[in-house]
Amino acid sequence: MNPILLIASKESGELLLSTRGLACLLAMAVVLSGFGLLLVGDTELSLLDNAQVVYDMAGIVTALGALLALVVGVDTVAGERERGSLVPLLLTPVSRDSILLGKLGGVAIAWVAMYGLAAPYLWAVGSTGQNLVDGLAAVALLGTPVVLGFGFLGIGLGACLAMARTGLLIGLIALVLAASPLLLGPSLRQSAIGRAFDAVNPFSAAVNAYDAVIIDSVPIATQMLNLGTTAVWLALALWFARTSFHRVAR
């Protein structure tokens, strides 16, 4: 079997079949369920709020996906190091790039699992409203590079830092900072600093595209600039992961 596929299937198996991985997915499902149940009890929602609900859910799914990818990414290198299984892996007659590709594949499969978990929730809250399909497509198109980027960031941090806990902490701080557009209203982001932050923040690019596609019914094809921002983020995170992983000595 191709070593890349072997490593990727081992990584994804740890997520989908291990107790730890399933507990992670359960936590994600509980968050999405809580949000869905909160909405059911609200009788004051207008049709516009329905689009807002899908938009909010898309943002939450992206944030949770990035969190999951970050945890998986840090654990895939730093966790293996702490468990003592990284050195034997590096000593196998497989190139570093192949090992890294396998681990990247594990992060990608984690996101696919998260997306698969989130799709029924998006359908449940958004099927009576507008732009559900476009919303799902926007999450797939713009959420994927954001989420994978955080996974690759996690791999890079796990590779260049001695302790998984430190890598996780730094990654979480970066994620909270990047995901701040979910908490801050548009007016707070209209200042010069807010606009500058929005221009370089991949999470903002994804969230702004969700806003345009889901709430304003703008065609997703017009979101190329936002897509470009997320693609640049993915490329930078991949470069960081590769550089850091090639420097791993033990």
Binding site: S18, G34, G36, L39, T43, W123, A124, G129
Partner: protein, 173 residues
């Protein structure tokens, strides 16, 4: 002093009469489309048609007609921002000749439940008054935006499914 006040009052009256007369040249009719659903609910699209007519002997220049929507539920009376309800907010005509009419359609997407009233208002560039159509009232029935029959099975079922997988995994281990 009294004479001065009387002259001012007379002048104001003349201006007002002229304005009313000018506004009176233009009339507006408003009617719902017969194809509108009889009991519309949130999410439905309905249509109103207005006919702006110049009934006067002279051309009226710079005619602007617009739709206003107000909610008239007791305790919730308020003007409604049309931004979300309709993309068609105004109709204009450079000039409306004597006897000429301007027909406009006003599609509305029903966003929120409640009782509503629409009215079309018309002004012209030189006219000092405003012409308004008769009111058209309608009620929007509530429609659950987030349906519990869809959310509950997913919100309860998926975590239970994962818990079952966890228990199965622990048992297998």
């Amino acid at each position: 002093m009294i004479l001065h006040v009387s002259r001012v009052a007379l002048a104001l009256t003349l201006i007002l009469v002229a304005a009313v007369a000018r506004a009176g040249d233009v009339s507006v009719d408003l009617a719902p489309d017969p194809k509108n659903p009889p009991a519309p609910q949130m999410g439905d699209n309905i249509l109103f048609r207005s006919v702006i007519r110049n009934g006067g002997p002279t051309t009226v220049d710079g005619v602007i007609g617009w739709l206003s929507l107000v909610q008239i539920d007791p305790g919730a009376e308020q003007p409604v921002d049309l931004e979300d309800w309709s993309a068609h907010k105004a109709v204009t005509a450079t000039a409306l000749k004597p006897g000429e009419t301007l027909v406009a359609e006003w599609p509305l997407r029903l966003i929120q439940s409640g009782n509503y009233r629409v009215v079309v208002s018309v002004v012209s560039r030189d006219g000092g008054g405003i012409a308004t159509s008769p009111f058209a009232d309608f009620e929007v029935r509530e429609k659950p935006v987030v349906e519990s029959t869809r959310v509950l099975p997913v919100a309860v079922g998926l975590p239970l499914l994962i818990v079952a997988a966890l228990l199965w995994r622990r048992k297998a281990a």
